[in-house]
């Protein structure tokens, strides 16, 4: 299975505080370990939300809202895509991850939809018709 692993933002990361060289080095080693285990598919760190924006949808309207956004712990500061055998394996990998911030923080793991998840829908003529 494929999972997205999201490092949630903190007040510091939202202020644009850069990680220490030690943390960067530790993260580099962790990434190497992930790659060497054949687990790492992709991953990036994200700049603070002040540099981003949101596009809000309401019916046919689209409204652009510039960052920053409140609720740092609901924001994403970085992500990986991993190929693992089970959610539990992802949990064990996350436990090995260096603590990404000096303050308390969270890493969230979410399974990615796979082709099989859509298989029943595609054999259902009604679902197919509504899908276009």
């Amino acid at each position: 299975m494929r999972v997205m692993v999201m490092v949630k933002a903190t007040a510091d990361s939202e202020r644009g505080v850069m990680p220490s060289p030690e943390l960067l080095a530790a993260m580099g080693r962790f990434n190497e370990e992930l790659a060497r285990a054949g687990v790492l598919l992709a991953g990036e760190g994200l700049k603070r939300s002040a540099l981003g924006c949101r596009v809000r949808f309401s019916g046919s309207h689209r409204t652009v809202v510039d960052g920053p956004f409140a609720e740092a712990k609901e924001l994403v500061a970085g992500f990986w895509l991993w190929q693992v055998k089970s959610l539990q394996e992802a949990v064990e990998w996350v436990r090995k991850c260096p603590n990404p911030f000096p303050t308390d923080c969270e890493i969230e793991i979410r399974p990615v939809f796979e082709a099989e998840d859509f298989a029943p829908a595609s054999t259902d003529p009604a679902a197919r018709a509504s899908a276009g």
């Binding site: 687990v39 064990e92 436990r95």
Partner: protein
């Protein structure tokens, strides 16, 4: 923590750590069979301990330390005089005290150990089936039951295959070493062959109703990616990884709604996995980076890349594919490759030109019974408007294939010829 949760944790940790564990133990004990046995012992100890005291903060490190202590015990018990003592001293010197942090102290040697384990599991002294089973077991961390299920055989058969393989390795005194430079190419070819076999076993089942066994594909890809990190200087490793990434990128598009196979040119390219395509093209670039002539895996990957780069089927650069097949025929001559080259020629230069190439293959005894020969010939004849002959070829192909879904597809094509008659 519930019993169930502990089990899941142990299973996950085993999957992550078992190869490293076995590799480290094999270096210490110089015996792959014994190493696996000790690794299993450590796992059993983990299950007991963690049930009683909870899962430790760093379960992987716990397993490594426990296994290493047991290996030291065993080495001590062997007591064959000075030599073991020296060996022991050497281990402590090289890798730190066994009580220290194994993860940190062993990081680099572990990479070397894993590579050695891969070479040993794929040693040419073993038959192909044994190499495949041993690789999945020692490096993939798969259980005997899982391997048996993947290869549609019994657990007992796989268990016996693995026991025999380990015995063969011990009897042949296969050293736990990376091959010397002069044998490296041949030994690496053996490793790549095993990985690609595992991949293909998952990608297209040769018999039965099960068209794909994704777990095997994923495992082969994982091991390939791992190998590419362990031995990045070898272009063919990147070639194989590129080939597997690109083929896997099409997995979701290969089946229709009823589970029937969809041919490459008819696939919905929106369902191709862009992430895997990107990884495949990047791996191919690494294979090409040295500027040397491409090996057979990299050539096949380059062909797959031509398809991946085409946004729609009609954009495919068939002339380039035909040229790549020319190179592949030179490097790895095989009638199957020549048949594929004929298909590329038909797309690039027309069915008439390709039919001559296919007819030249018709008498090849190596293709007798190969369903794709009549399937391709049927396709070319159909395009040339020779519907009656085409139908006969599709029917022949349907009778030859062992895959039920493919048979249905070919029968459908035979029936489809009737309209054009």
């Amino acid at each position: 923590m519930t019993e169930d949760a502990i089990h899941r944790t142990v299973e996950a940790v085993w999957r992550m750590e078992s190869a490293k564990l076995i590799a480290m133990l094999a270096r210490m004990l110089r015996d792959v069979g014994e190493a696996e046995e000790l690794a299993q012992d450590a796992l059993v100890a983990a299950l007991e301990q963690w049930r009683a005291n909870g899962v430790p903060e760093r379960p992987g490190a716990w397993l490594m330390t426990t296994a290493r202590h047991r290996a030291f015990d065993r080495l001590r018990r062997r007591r064959v005089g000075e030599r073991v003592g020296e060996q022991l001293a050497h281990h402590v010197e090289a890798h730190g005290d066994p009580g220290g942090d194994p993860a940190a102290a062993l990081d680099e040697p572990i990479a070397d150990d894993l590579l050695r384990l891969m070479f040993v599991a794929c040693h040419p002294v073993l038959g192909t089936e044994a190499r495949v089973a041993l690789t999945l077991r020692l490096l993939g961390g798969l259980t005997t039951a899982e391997i048996a299920r993947a290869f549609l055989t019994t657990e007992a058969a796989i268990a016996q295959r693995i026991v025999r393989a380990k015995r063969t390795l011990a009897e042949a005194r296969v050293p736990f070493e990376t091959p010397r430079t002069e044998e490296l190419d041949a030994r690496l070819a053996s490793v790549l062959e095993v990985l690609y076999l595992i991949f293909n076993e998952g990608y297209a089942a040769t018999s039965g109703p099960d068209w794909m066994r994704p777990a095997l594909c994923e495992e082969a890809l994982r091991l390939g990616r791992m190998l590419a990190e362990l031995i990045p200087s070898e272009p063919e490793v990147h070639g194989l990884v590129a080939l597997m990434e690109l083929q896997a990128s099409r997995a979701a598009a290969r089946l229709g709604p009823g589970g029937e196979p969809v041919l490459l040119l008819e696939q919905d390219r929106a369902r191709w996995d862009r992430l895997l395509i990107g990884r495949g093209l990047a791996a191919l670039a690494r294979a090409e980076a040295r500027g040397e002539a491409l090996g057979p895996y990299a050539l096949q990957a380059a062909i797959a890349a031509c398809h991946a780069r085409a946004a729609v089927a009609s954009d495919t650069d068939w002339a380039r594919i035909a040229a790549l097949y020319d190179a592949l025929v030179q490097l790895a001559p095989s009638p199957v490759v020549e048949l594929n080259r004929a298909v590329a020629v038909s797309m690039a230069f027309g069915a008439a030109e390709a039919l001559g190439l296919v007819d030249a293959l018709a008498g090849d005894p190596r293709l007798a019974g190969y369903h794709l020969l009549p399937a391709v010939r049927g396709e070319l004849l159909q395009r040339l408007g020779r519907a009656g002959e085409a139908r006969a070829e599709f029917e022949r192909a349907a009778a030859l294939t062992r895959n039920e879904r493919e048979r249905a597809l070919l029968r459908g094509r035979a029936t489809g010829c009737d309209g054009g008659d």
